[in-house]
Symmetry: C2
Subunit: 288 residues, 2 copies
């Protein structure tokens, strides 16, 4: 099984034109938010954000497979004490151009940026918007099942303490039966709220999101040898995870240094895969 990883350096609106129609299984990306990343993307103004993003979303719509999914990680800024509506406007605009707004996952960032303001608490969540070309898309739900977590444990404990069978009728819909099934299994399906901490430990290169985020969506929407695309690659978290999970991938970034960096890392990993017998040459802490 040979996996390819393509890194393209340039403006993604242009570079996307080089890709074929209906060829990508999953687009997972986190574009620069409005007024952020000024040094690299020129800091798109909130009022111009939709206009800036629409041409890119059109290209993504072209290159994605009818069965593919587009996950867009984005959050609106506060402007003059108010949430700026550009994300809402973007969703509506993308729908007009043919995208289906299938779902909105919530990424709950447990360690969000600190701060206290008179009118506001810390913003600790971001949107993960799912768009599709078609009502029928591929989704491998079993790939992201989780060990039965807090919910089930607490729930089961409470149930066992009180009575199991009586109260179920009120809640309805065979609640009790399902419960007993779940106790036999160890895995349950997750919900549409994902909680992960942001990684603040990278000394060399800060990633916008932790690896577990693209990992979850790559497992959910692709299988091995499928094609993953990140048109705003940045430090390459998506691409690296895709490679690790044996998915083909294409990353695009406007900054050459990121492209070089990610290429190097991917090459190193390929090397490691080859030399898998000698596992101790990594930069991991040598025990003793």
């Amino acid at each position: 099984m040979k996996i390819f990883t393509k890194i393209l350096n340039g403006n993604c609106a242009k570079k996307l034109k080089e890709l074929e129609n209906d060829s990508v299984d999953l687009v997972f990306t986190s574009p620069p938010y409005a007024d952020q990343r000024k040094n690299t993307y020129g800091g798109i103004k909130p009022d111009e954000y939709v206009e800036w993003f629409l041409p890119i979303s059109k290209e993504i719509l072209r290159v994605i497979k009818p069965t593919g999914s587009f996950i867009l990680n984005i959050k609106e800024r506060v402007v003059n004490g108010e949430r700026h509506p550009y994300v809402l406007e973007l969703i509506l605009a993308m729908r007009k151009h043919g995208w289906l707004w299938t779902e909105e996952f919530i990424w709950h960032k447990k360690n969000s940026y600190p701060g206290k303001w008179p009118n506001r608490f810390r913003d600790s969540w971001e949107r993960l918007l799912q768009f599709n070309k078609n009502r029928k898309f591929k989704m491998y739900q079993e790939a992201v099942m989780v060990p039965m977590g807090d919910w089930a444990k607490i729930r089961l404990k409470n149930l066992s303490k009180t009575d199991k069978i009586r109260d179920e009728s009120k809640v309805g819909s065979g609640f009790g039966k399902n419960i007993s099934n779940w106790t036999k299994r160890d895995m349950v399906y997750p919900t549409n709220v994902i909680h992960t901490a942001t990684e603040c430990n990278n000394k060399n290169h800060s990633a916008a999101f932790p690896e577990s985020l693209p990992e979850w969506f790559i497992n959910l929407f692709t299988k091995k040898e499928d094609l993953v695309l990140d048109p705003f690659m940045g430090s390459g978290t998506t691409i690296k995870v895709a490679h690790l999970l044996k998915r083909n991938s294409i990353g695009i970034d406007i900054q050459e240094k990121y492209c070089t960096l990610v290429s190097t890392i991917i090459d190193q990993k390929e090397d490691l895969l080859f030399k898998k017998s000698k596992k101790n040459e990594t930069n991991k802490k040598p025990r003793g």
Copy 2:
């Protein structure tokens, strides 16, 4: 201190006209979602939702104080496999009519039990949209401070049955010691993600949300003797909590049976307060 609780029976668009300008400190409500509660509100169609809600939101804008807040609990339905955009359109429309969209809190319903559909996981969150008349509004942030900014941990601390279970993957390792650390540590401000278990304790009538939800916002945005309004009262959770927290309140509902029921409950509680020889201070720190 004499607290009043007014229950109005009728269509809220009309009944709201009886209220005075700039008189309400907090509106907390959960309107019927599109296509829900067909028997009472005629099952508003998603496509007509904005049109239906706008006259009501205008009245709310009129009666709310310049320093007041409007918390709208709402979530869009899935229609034909796609999230319907009526909530997004509503936010944009309300902004055009003068509302400020200050914040979007996320209510994470932690114990909504797992479930799945072919293309969809369990939906375990809802929007709590905050709208304001003015950039300057009242917010009593200290009233909702928590020991270490995570509600889940609070819950774990309070639930002595389950105090061995940790929210995340970190198991073992002196969990009990950590608990004692939490109690020593100072109070911190929460974030804009609210975790609450969905309570299933209402025997007679299903409430849209647990009491802890309006409690949090009433504590955050009002002080004692302020006025709380819920124009879609339903089973009256908001009104009951407001009364408990010594806030004046007005509840409106189109169904007479709800109005009668809530009135009865409030009266009963007043009786209890009398007979209990006023030993009723909660463990919350009193304000004002």
